[in-house]
Symmetry: C2
Subunit: 567 residues, 2 copies
């Protein structure tokens, strides 16, 4: 591709409203332009990268036994009413009316469409399992679109759905897609983790998020420093024994703690360790109130609480609720004499001896509190967030934290949609059964942005070879110099014939502009035709390492192949 014929509108300045690297660089290097908040055009370089990502996805999904189809963006509201999501999805679901005033959703996801399709076409266990995917534009009306392609309102996704007559079959497909996703993100060159995630209200058991490690990620991953264990911090179990202090239980004592509310304030004032304090928090779990205790230096994990109690929701009670249940304000709560409220506690609380807790009375705490002697606990369980340094739940190594960008998600849906929408099949015995489903997503445009987050330097983008829009960036320093222009044209033809994808900067621009643009747009290898053109010598620059090589054109192809292999 001759650069004079394409559109790569590079910018010298960092765009003011772009907060993160991928957003800044994709704009600056002329890969994307914003059309509206959260809505972008993919310019020619980005289109090529997306196609490469899509091709990798297609190959791996096909390999996993999934079959491609293409469903529409316009989705009749009736389908979403059947699943119930028309009412629960909220304003993120873009909705519109056609000329006949019929309501449509713009596809944010396709569970409803595919479930209705399979419900109509598949009736027998003989036609199952079935795994189908599409690569398609999705619409979600994010409240605050941001971070460029990471959180947009119109974006490209690969979504897949599988249908089964048994959980074993779902497990198999889940594993295959899991492997496909691992292959996809590895081939994209990404540093990622498959993390155990929360299955939410879906009732499924297994679900994993594929997270690209990045400081701009909005999720926190807890991972082992030695094994492959990784989980969303919400999900990581704490697996450890707490040792009880070797100390005699003392008599409980009520002390005045004027205006001391936080654990830190109370511990400092009473000159005890936060570890010896009991943090007490009142949660509304579905319809009842549960006082939840963790050690003073720990935090309650509401998802663990919710799962422990088999509830749909677990939310911190507000001031008014707290007052009415425990008779005092947040900051003085405690389990001692907390009547009429269920108490659950993290395992660490059981190991506290002569601890401190709120007295359910403003400005008062208890000292020398001992669990089970001074209050009853209905259940001890794992209820806290894991911390850096905790042992990894798989028994190998210690936990570290990282931020992650979710680029993929595999999910066992179970019968959530098939039951709501009547997607049933006849089993071997002629009995009607709801299909068991899985769903699997990859953010295609988000994957591209994640690669940019991981592959850049102060000069611009540094594409991994698998995704670079072009293999080679050929530059003639001075197109007005006949021998340079001639050699460049000759090399352009020759390299194209050798099946390299070449971007040829044939523009009449100053060398400085060409070099800066070249670094900015980030092809793996730059070939510069300059003053030594008449001797048949050109310069190779490896974008990633900055290494320079002077090469005679006769050895050019060999040298390029050698460098490519090393990248």
């Amino acid at each position: 591709m001759k650069q004079s014929m394409t559109l790569i509108p590079t910018l010298r300045e960092v765009p003011a409203d772009a907060e993160i690297k991928s957003h800044q660089l994709l704009l600056r290097a002329g890969y994307i332009r914003q059309n509206a908040s959260g809505v972008y055009s993919y310019l020619p370089l980005a289109r090529k990268v997306l196609q490469k990502v899509e091709q990798i996805i297609r190959e791996e999904m096909d390999q996993s036994g999934s079959v491609e189809l293409l469903m529409p963006a316009l989705q009749q509201s009736e389908l979403w009413q059947e699943s119930g999501r028309w009412y629960t999805y909220g304003p993120e679901l873009m909705r519109m009316r056609d000329r006949h005033d019929r309501e449509f959703a713009l596809g944010a996801t396709h569970e409803e469409v595919i479930t209705s399709l399979i419900r109509d076409e598949v009736k027998s266990y003989k036609r199952l399992p079935l795994s189908l995917y599409q690569i398609q534009t999705k619409f979600r009306d994010e409240k605050r679109p941001r971070f460029g392609l990471l959180r947009g309102r119109e974006f490209i996704m690969k979504d897949a759905y599988s249908f089964h007559s048994s959980h074993e079959s779902l497990d198999q497909t889940y594993q295959r897609v899991f492997q496909a996703y691992s292959n996809i993100f590895s081939r994209c060159g990404l540093d990622y983790r498959a993390v155990i995630a929360d299955s939410g209200a879906m009732g499924g058991k297994d679900t994993h998020e594929f997270m690209v490690l990045s400081d701009v990620g909005e999720d926190t991953i807890a991972y082992s420093d030695t094994s492959s264990y990784a989980a969303n911090i919400e999900m990581a179990p704490v697996v450890m024994e707490y040792e009880k202090k070797a100390e005699e239980a003392k008599e409980i004592e009520k002390v005045r703690t004027e205006n001391k509310k936080s654990i830190e304030e109370v511990a400092n004032f009473l000159e005890v360790d936060a570890k010896d304090c009991i943090k007490s928090m009142l949660f509304k779990v579905d319809d009842r109130y549960v006082l939840t205790l963790v050690r003073g230096d720990h935090e309650v994990n509401d998802i663990k609480l919710k799962n422990l109690l088999g509830a749909a929701t677990a939310e911190l009670a507000d001031a008014e609720e707290t007052k009415s249940v425990l008779g005092c304000a947040v900051g003085s709560l405690g389990p001692v004499q907390a009547k009429d409220v269920e108490i659950v506690a993290d395992h660490a609380v059981a190991a506290i001896v002569n601890g401190v807790c709120g007295a359910n009375e403003e400005n008062y705490h208890y000292m020398n509190v001992n669990p089970e002697r001074d209050f009853e606990v209905s259940q001890f369980a794992d209820l806290r967030f894991i911390l850096e340094g905790d042992p990894s739940p798989d028994g190998e190594g210690k936990i570290l934290f990282a931020k992650g960008i979710e680029v993929g998600h595999v999910f066992k849906l179970g019968t959530r949609y098939s039951e709501a929408m009547g997607a049933t099949y006849l089993d071997e015995n002629g009995r009607t059964q709801p299909m068991i489903m899985g769903c699997y997503g990859i953010g295609v445009s988000r994957t591209m942005a994640s690669v940019v987050e991981q592959f850049n330097d102060d000069k611009g983008l540094v594409w991994p070879t698998a995704l670079a829009p072009f293999d080679l960036h050929l530059i003639a320093v001075n197109m007005k110099d006949a021998s340079q222009a001639e050699l460049a044209e000759e090399l352009y033809a020759k390299l194209k014939a050798a099946r390299f994808d070449v971007l040829f900067d044939d523009r009449q621009e100053r060398p400085g502009v060409k070099f800066a643009d070249s670094d900015l747009i980030g092809m793996p290898i730059r070939i510069t035709v300059g003053k030594k053109a008449s001797e048949g010598i050109v310069e190779l620059k490896v974008r990633k390492t900055g290494d320079m090589h002077e090469v005679h054109v006769d050895e050019l192809q060999t040298k390029i192949e050698e460098i490519m292999k090393s990248l």
Copy 2:
């Protein structure tokens, strides 16, 4: 691909609401399913065909010097207000509001988006010309979606836009894209014509439609029986000399023609030839009235009338307008003593001697009317529709008519959008100039349906090799027969390794069902593994010709390649 793993839901019955072959067959053969009126899912076989069409388009567009990008479906209303089309496009433009109540159009076309993009990024003649294309989903809220994929509300298009600093440059790109389109439709195996079309209100000069010849087409093409000349019937000029009858002019005579209104009734009643009658029709051309005359056996072409008078619109006047301008009803109109109205006439009228026309008085006509003696004509011009048998305008052969499906359109837009939206560049002399634009569209999903219209028989689809979802359809007659199943599996692996795209019917179905499905879905070659499996003999069937060949597996590949070449 094993058939048991994919979704090909064939139907035995012709769907009741599908009127045309492509709609019926794509439904019956399990290629598409309707999600809503004019909205379809492309099932796995259709997805593969679409990808093949898209790949051909990409190769030819790239070859033409156009560069791919991808623009969004969500388009801010402000852009469409700039071009003015927010108000003129009508209900076919789907519109919606986001959560912040901002108005968007769902892209029906992308002139506004690309013009705004190029306006912002390209400022100098040095960066022109530029030609960009995308393959993308489009939305148009058709009043009556019908004919399956031929007239849908959500469909796939390739649209391209070019930007130039001179008309010569536009001409060059126009020619290149024209050639690309010719290549694309030829490679798809289509019988098509590039026809001269009306440039409408766009003010452009050249515009061609690419029409696939088909009886279900909604357009009529006038084409030469000997040359490549073809035009939309609206546009074909009539190039012929009319000979004046060798007859003396007689005296004009007013005759009573009680209740005779049509040319046929009047001609029969007065015992004259329709060729000797003058058909007079009153048109409202922009703001004025023009009485338009053609010979009795001809029809007025309103587009020619409009273009002759340089008007924006030319519509038949209604009864009330006619009454007020000429004082009588339609059916008795004529040019004699038609005062205060401009009269234009087709060349054929000039050759009429002693003709018949209405008398502008109910139930009366004039006989022996002679143009220029009995009425004045402001202009004689080509004003009628061409007819079958007329000489071809290029001087070669005679005109025939055919129906066509518009699958492509190339169009010189000129400065319609660049002027409205301020897309200017600085020329060599530093002067601000509006960019000159072209636009070029191909209906991708419509192209697929058009191929089906041209390639089918009473058993089903008959794909041309370039677009067939699979090259080969491998069938084991009885999967329970070990030698058949084994040989089929072996051939499946072998043929895939030889780079054939193979669909392998491994289903436990009756042979009759398998054969019927195979004919219906229409792969070019069927390979049947049946009773002679143990001898290593299989049967090849060529879908197009029905030819059968018994082949030993050792010669299978050679035979397949031989047949492929012949298709």
